[in-house]
């Protein structure tokens, strides 16, 4: 159960960061958001 709560939190954070990345007008800030996204998406891709 704890595992799926954790995955749920990761998915929510990922969605929020993607939304922020889309809204963000400055390219360097977009890249910063992308750096935050990398480990979160990597974790989601390894769900089993």
């Amino acid at each position: 159960m704890l595992y799926w709560i954790y995955i749920g939190i990761v998915v929510i954070i990922t969605a929020i960061v993607i939304a922020e990345l889309i809204d963000e007008p400055k390219i360097w800030n977009k890249i910063a958001y992308a750096m935050v996204l990398l480990p979160f998406i990597l974790r989601i891709l390894q769900i089993k």
Partner: protein, 378 residues
């Protein structure tokens, strides 16, 4: 749509695509680590069991792992050989693999678990820069083996507490140790992931009435307990006799008595909770050390490090370290194997008929040093 908006959308698509491509490449690499290395048991193999036979809660998960059983069918001692308790200690896994690929048992039976902490083989330790694999030559070509993590994969056990409280002693250790199999004994049937694995091994020891149990390890050259045999107080005589015999063969092992109040370790809890005589063996492995320098596959294979040569010259090491020979895998596997054979040999000298463990097919230390590991792997 304004030009600025268009630019923003294009930038977003490019950045998100780049993130996805990088993550998919990395994820594929990480998922590859979940495929266990193929092993080729000798024709003396009786059956392959699984740890989940001893704790059903492990079934279908990363904690479940193969137990290779070689049963002579003739009454005798039951032996347990554990490799891969810490998957970043390759001589431990390789010695168990060499045993299961070569042994022929004529009296008694042996249970070999090459990947005791199977979960640890599915990742590497963060921030250590260790290679994912190493290669050795075998009779029929090159074989590739995983270099894993000291502890269970956080994907299997998360989060780590700030302080790990060992069950049942209540001993406090750093939170990281909660995923360390060799701090988890005797474990719990429904405890943490690592405790479940430890519990299954304890159940195996009890149900199969194991007589002698071996847990193979490696440690950094600067750690005081290296090139050592750690033993429980109830098998002191056996351990000291074996160390003496090994000394006469030119191999030095430090006999180390298991501390009574240091809990969670195999040499303590196996001895306290079961009838088995436990032994833990350590060799010197430079890739685990803080002074190691360049961290690559050569360091795993040959154990050569200029930094350790300098440390030896300043007297900071307990072992003799030579830059020209290093600490090669052959020597480390050879030492484990010779220690294992010598303890069994000493045990057989004192065992009653019908309580012995007799076997063939395993090389001597000198043979491994002369022929290399190649001769003993399929």
């Amino acid at each position: 749509m304004s030009v600025l908006m268009k630019k923003n959308i294009i930038q977003t698509i490019i950045i998100l695509t780049a993130v996805l491509v990088i993550d998919i490449i990395a994820a594929l690499d990480l998922i590859k680590m979940h495929h266990p290395d193929k092993l080729y048991p000798s024709d003396g193999l009786s059956e392959i069991q699984y740890l989940s036979n001893y704790n059903s809660r492990l079934k279908g998960g990363n904690g479940d792992t193969e137990i290779y059983v070689f049963d002579s069918g003739k009454p005798g001692a039951s032996i347990l050989l554990l490799g891969g308790t810490h998957p970043n200690e390759p001589a431990s896994f390789l010695t168990a693999a060499l045993v299961l690929e070569n042994i022929q048992v004529s009296t008694g039976r042996i249970f070999v678990i090459p990947r005791a902490c199977n979960s640890g083989f599915t990742c590497t330790d963060p921030f250590e820069g260790c290679p994912e694999y190493y290669h050795i030559q075998s009779k029929y070509g090159e074989r590739r083996f995983r270099f894993g993590s000291r502890v269970s994969n956080p994907l299997d056990q998360w989060p780590d507490p700030l302080v790990y409280s060992h069950f049942p002693s209540g001993q406090k250790l750093s939170g990281f140790e909660t995923r360390n199999l060799n701090r988890a004994y005797p474990g719990r049937e429904n405890g943490s992931f690592t405790e479940k694995v430890a519990y299954a091994i304890m159940e195996l020891l009890k149900k199969e009435k194991i007589t002698l149990a071996f847990d193979l390890h490696e440690a950094a050259p600067e750690i005081p307990i290296i090139n050592a045999i750690v033993y429980h107080e109830k098998c002191e005589e056996l351990a000291l006799m074996a160390v003496m015999n090994l000394e006469m063969k030119g191999l030095n092992y430090a006999p180390e008595l298991s501390p009574i109040n240091f809990h969670g370790l195999s040499h303590r809890e196996w001895g306290d909770y079961t009838d088995a005589y436990p032994f833990l063996m350590e060799t010197s492995n430079p890739i685990q050390g803080r002074l190691r320098g360049k961290t690559n596959e050569d360091l795993i294979r040959y154990g050569k490090s200029i930094q350790y040569q300098q440390a030896q010259e300043t007297g900071a090491l307990r072992i003799v370290y030579k830059a020209d020979t290093g600490e090669p895998l052959e020597r480390r596997v050879g030492r484990h194997l010779q220690g294992f054979k010598e303890i069994i040999s000493v045990y057989n000298e004192t065992a009653d008929t019908g309580q012995m463990f007799e076997f063939s097919g395993l090389p001597e230390y000198d043979e491994i040093m002369t022929n290399g590991l190649k001769e003993y792997f399929q």
